[in-house]
Structure formats: C-alpha cells, structure tokens
Symmetry: C2
Subunit: 457 residues, 2 copies
Amino acid sequence: MEEIQDKIQFQLSNELIEKVEILVEDYNDNELKLLLNEYHYADIAEILDELDVDAAVYIIKLLDSGLTSDILMELDEDNREDILKNLSAKEIAEEVEELDTDDAADIIAELPEDRQAEVISKIEDEEHREEITELLTYDNDTAGSLMAKELVKVYETWTVAGCLRRIRGQAKEVTRVHSIYVVDKEEKLIGRLSLKDLIVAKSDQKIAEISNSNVDYVNVTEDVEDVAKIMAKYDLEAIPVVDENQTLLGRITIDDIVDVLREEAEKDYQLAAGITQDVEADDSILELTRARLPWLFLGLIGGIGAFIIMYYFEESLPKEAVILFLFTPLIAAMAGNVGVQSSAIIVQGLANDDVKGSINTRLIKEMLLAALNGIILSLFLFLFVFAWEQEFKLALAISVSLVVVIIIAGLIGTFIPLFLDKRGIDPAIATGPFITTSNDILGILLYFWIAKLILGF
Amino acid sequence: MEEIQDKIQFQLSNELIEKVEILVEDYNDNELKLLLNEYHYADIAEILDELDVDAAVYIIKLLDSGLTSDILMELDEDNREDILKNLSAKEIAEEVEELDTDDAADIIAELPEDRQAEVISKIEDEEHREEITELLTYDNDTAGSLMAKELVKVYETWTVAGCLRRIRGQAKEVTRVHSIYVVDKEEKLIGRLSLKDLIVAKSDQKIAEISNSNVDYVNVTEDVEDVAKIMAKYDLEAIPVVDENQTLLGRITIDDIVDVLREEAEKDYQLAAGITQDVEADDSILELTRARLPWLFLGLIGGIGAFIIMYYFEESLPKEAVILFLFTPLIAAMAGNVGVQSSAIIVQGLANDDVKGSINTRLIKEMLLAALNGIILSLFLFLFVFAWEQEFKLALAISVSLVVVIIIAGLIGTFIPLFLDKRGIDPAIATGPFITTSNDILGILLYFWIAKLILGF
C-alpha cells in the first residue's frame, strides 16, 4: 500500500523538483523514467509546471505518450502552450491520438489556427480524426464543445448476451461507462440502461425490454451553463447529447461540469473583486496589471466625478458647512457596500434560478430591507454626530441623507443585475467596481443635495 | 419521447402551481397523483417549494415514500424543516428508510436533537439504523459526514463468476456503481475494479488477478475541502473512505463534491460581498438584515473613523487646503478597490493551491504590481488636478499620495489573507468590507499626512 499512500499525500517539494532538474541536466533518462513513473499524471503535471520549458519538453518527449497526453491536459494553460510550441505537429498528433475526443479537441483548439490543420492531418486514426474535426465545429459554451464522442451505444433489437459481447469492444475505448445508450436503427436516442441493469438481466432478454425510455438528454446547441444546471438538478453523472433530429452525437460527463461550475464561480468572484481577465496569482505582473488596471481606472474616473460634484457644492455652501465634507467617505462607503450586497444576492439568485417574482416585487423588498438597515445605521450615526457636534439639525441632515442613500444604493444594486439579465448580459459584471463607483457618485450627490435642503443653505 | 421533452424543459408556471393548489383544496388525490407522477422528483420539489406548508405536507403524505424521500432531499432547507415539523417520527423514519445512508443522516442531522433519537428508533431496518447512527457520529466538514455506507465490496479471493453472482445482490441497493472495492479478509481496502473490468474478464479468474491495487482513498477524518481537491485533481467520480487501520468504511461520490464546491464558492462570494450568513434572495427581510447589517455596521464605524481623522487634519490645515478634502472619496475608493483585487487573487490562489513561494516574494510582487498600477493612475490624476487647479505642488501632493496609498493597500490586501491562512483562518473573510474599510481609513490617513508633508503646512 506504500505507493497509494504516496499518491494521495503527494506534496510538491523543492527537493523533488531539484532532483528532476538534475536528472534532466544529466540526460539520465532511465532514472528519470523510474522516478516519474511512480507518480500520478496529475502530480507529474504539477512538477512540470515548476520546471523551465526546455526541461518540461524534454520530459514530455521522454515519457510514453499514453502518460504524457494525460499530463498535458493537467498542465497550467500557459505552460501547455509553451510546451506545445516546442513539439512538432507529428508529436502533438501522437499525444492527441491518446486522448478522448473532447480533450483532444480542447488541446487542438488552443493551438494557433495554422497549426490546427497541420496537427489534425497528422492524426493517423481516421475515425478519431473525423470525430475531432466534428467537435471543433461546435461553438464554445455550447454542449457540443463539452461532449466526447466516446460512448457505449446499443441497438434496441439486440439481446442482453449479444449486447454484452459487443459492448466489450466499445467499452475498452471508453474510460468510464456511466450509461449505455439505446438507439433505434436510425441512430436516434430512445433510451438508456446501466451496466448494472445488463448484469442483473437474463441473457436472452431483448434490450428494448430492459432499457429505460426515460432518458434525459440535451441538444448539442444548449448553453453549457444550462447543461450544468440540468445535470446538477437531476443528479446526472453523464448526459447524452443529440441533434435536432434526436440523433445521438456524444455525451457529457460530470467531471467536465465540475470544471464549468468552478470556472463560472471564479469568473463571478473575479468580476465582483474587479478583475477583468482570468488571471492567477502566479501570472506575470504585466498580465495582472492588464486585468486590474481597467477597473481601477473606472474607480479613478468615479473619484474625479465625486471631486467635481463636491467642488460645485463647496462653492455654493457656506464655510461652516465644511463639516459635511468630512462625512463623504462614510456616505460613499455605505452606498458602495449596500450596492455590492444587494447585487451579489441577485447575481447568486439568478445563477441558482431562485429569483422568483417580478422586478417590481424585488425592488419593493429591497427598498424595505434597505430602509430597515438604513434606519438602524442612521440612528447610530445621528447619535454620534449629535454627541460630537451638538447640532441637532446637522446630525439630522447627515443621518436622513444616509437613509436615502442606502435605499437608493440598494435599489440600484438590485435593479442593474436584473436589468442586465433581462437583456441577456451576464449580471455578474454589475457587482464590484461598477456598482461601487456609480453608487459612490450618486450617493455623494444625493448626500449634499439633501443636506443642503435640510440645513437650508 | 414527449414525456422526456417535458422533463428537460420543465418550467415552473403559475398555472401549474394553481392547478396543484386547487387539487389539494379539493382533496382530489387521484388527479393529484396522476399529475405529479409525470414529473421528476426534482421538479416536484420545485413545485412544493412554492406551496404553503400545509399543502406541501399533504402532498408528501399522499405520494409514495420512495418518491417523497427524494423530493424531501431536493427541497429548500427552510421548507424541508417546516414540512418535517408536521410529520410524525414514524413518518420521517419511513422517508429515511428509502434514502441512501448519507442523505438519511443529513436529514436526521437537521432535526432538533430530541427528535433525532426518536426518528432513529423508528427505523425498522436494523442495518440501515446502525449505519445512519454511525454516520451521525462524524464531524461536519469531514469525509465521514459526506460518505455513504452503500457500496459494492468484494473479497480478493472470489472468482469473477462468483463475484458477478454475489454483487447482483449488493448492486441493487447501490444507485450507481462507480467502482467495486476489493478488501482482504480483515475488511481492509486493497484494491478496486470497475464493472467494465468484471465484464471484460474471464469468469474463472480470481478477483486478485484483475483488480487494480492502485486505489485512491481518503481517511474518514479528512477535511471535505481536501477531499474535493483530491477528487477534482485525480478526476475521480467516487472515492473510498477508510479508517486509520485501512478498513473500508464507505464511499464519497462526485455529486456530493459538486455540492461542496458550489457551497464553498457561494460562501467566498458572499464574504467578498459582505454577507455573513448563507442567505438567498427569497429569504425573509429579517434574515437578510441579519446577514447584511453587521458588515454595514463595520463600514459605518470605518466611515466614522475616517471622519475623525479628517476632523483633526481639518483643524491643523489652513483654509486653502479644503480642496484636499474633495479628493478623499477618490483616495478611499482606490485604496478599497486595490485591496479587494489583491486579496481576491490571493484567496482564489489559496483555494486552488497555486500560491507558491514565500510571503515575502508575494509581497514584493504585489508591491511592484501596485506601484505600476499606481504610477499610471497617478499620472492621469496629476494631469487632471494640474489642469483644474493650475497648482503644480497640489497636483504633485495628491498624486504622490495616491501612489503610496495604492501600494500600501495592495500590500495589506496581499498580506492579510496570507496571514489568516497561515493561522488556519478562512482567508475569504479578508476580502470585501473588512479590507475595504481598513484600507479606507489607512488610505485617508496616509493621504493627508503625505499631502501635508509635500505642501509644507
């Protein structure tokens, strides 16, 4: 059991990386193979992610393509790109031969366009080549882009015994048999059965007798997020994909959906934090700047907008009103916080499909909620300002403004994502800097306007 | 195929809900059964989530417990709680009887403590009762709390034919057979095989000959997030769970992991948005207030802190410095935005295990990054202020402050989550209002201090 223990508790260490680097420098191929073959491909990928490109390419060329194709799939995207640049079209085609069609198509799609055709032409297995070419035709973000052609398919007229005999051949090519799909003679999906059903059935029964006609499926053009929702809702581990004629085209497995859910969550999180591109902590400073600067620039423009508003109020207000300016960071921060909270709840509700009722009921609810929060917070602020300045009217002006600003900020935070969603735009872009900045400016404007009114300047 | 089409395209409509409500009011049991039996349990759960408790309880009592137990699992947690309150211990036990042990234990764990023992004592199947009791002993957030006792287990000494015969019995109880686990005579996990391996093997082969000793597993005390990482990394659809003696205790399936990943992502997202509890858009105003008010209160305290700082600077600054106060919202917003960005990148990197290197290298990188962003933004701000006010020194003071504030905010945003993580605290709490508020205050303090220094007041 020693080997197993190692695998689960795999911890990337500097010693291990150095050991590998030295073996590569010494061209010690035998030792290198012996060492790396002890590890899972996902672990080897972690090691390779830490090496420089030349060493990683050396190892990819050294190891068996059955193993290296899996390693390639697990690498960091940037590192995979660098490594593939150093492999010939023939070498990439050899890796691709080993992969399931969905992974193969993903890797080829990452290549520059001129190399794609070259690599495809070098794939020797004709069926594999045609299937990959088909997969490359589907749009990103559709079910077609996630599906694999590998599946186990039986005809309704077969017997259990004949079926078992025949699927032995098919099953060898399929990593995991979740379901066996039953088709009619026109290749249309008409049912499914599990390996378990097949084992439990009598060997002379017809497939049509034991198959379950109650099969969930998705259309090849369906949006991947909808596919993820369907699979999560109905607890499916694989779902067949059909075209508009119900012809069985492929299947999508739950592991691809796990990736979709994760990427979706990361994207929403990054948008909320004001990061535009998919970046990681280990990306270069230039990449990180490109992802962060646009939102910061938006914040800067917002701050300049706030300055201009305050500038004009400052000119029209008497000198004793300077105290009002000292509360602008408070007002702006509260407007931003409330806006982010309410938009985040709507964005998450939309993602989980549990935002029910009309936009109007939503807005009325948020108004009540914001009013409740606003009144509690304003009472506290009133007491503070009154205790500090001993001026009733000033304390009143500032705290009434705060209630109004909180309500308006909550309404904007609720309305914008709902509005974007209705327009078919990803509501997640509404959270974060976008809502904070617009609420900052509007909050400050409302604040001075209301304070001026109450103080009677 | 009509029925299938309906199922995938299930769209909850007001008409359908009204139809169900009328049937419940009329006690029209036959029609109700006919109508609901057309739908998938996940869809029925969506309908029940929209009904009032009495109607939902009526339907749960009406339908077959094989179906209602699945419906219960899919209900909104609050609604499930309400419905269970209206069922007797005996009725709950009947539902639990139909569920897999992991779901059964989850439902019982949601009950008030005094009802738990009562429900368990009413479970008729002794093995099921004991297994559920065992599962209830495991801590939340450990592998034990996620695992199910249902699995297919074979002994290494069995033959393929004997094995097929015997697992027919076991497999009937297991919804999905991902892997068959091989144990020795002491029930220790020593390998695995797939149904596919079994079908492809010759019937007189011994299990030991065809099984794969290279089996991943987790310990029953392992943290669920680590289990999720392992399963995602190694692309596992199920993983066996063992105790410290390697004895096979149960298995965790990928659908549970999908839920863990989703909850984790939602929690991080909510923390970043300043929402403390797990709330949904459809929760009551009181629940939503309880989740939102604490963070807003933190923001208010921060705003008051900013006021106090500005108050003292205002007293010590000459009247012509009032222009400085008009830029505080800008400075505060930039400090907040930069802090949220850098903490979000670290939080996400920690979640994905790709934050490498020491805290120092991290901080140096963030410093360079923040300096680059800061200089670009400050140049722009310098030009604006100079164009607006025609005062070189003022423009310089404000823009130099901005660079410093951005760098410090970036360092704080990077350091705090890394520090929390080292201390074993969830770094996600560092994002959102916490970092925004502390950066607001510190940013304003630094701003006035630097501006005062440069302007020579």
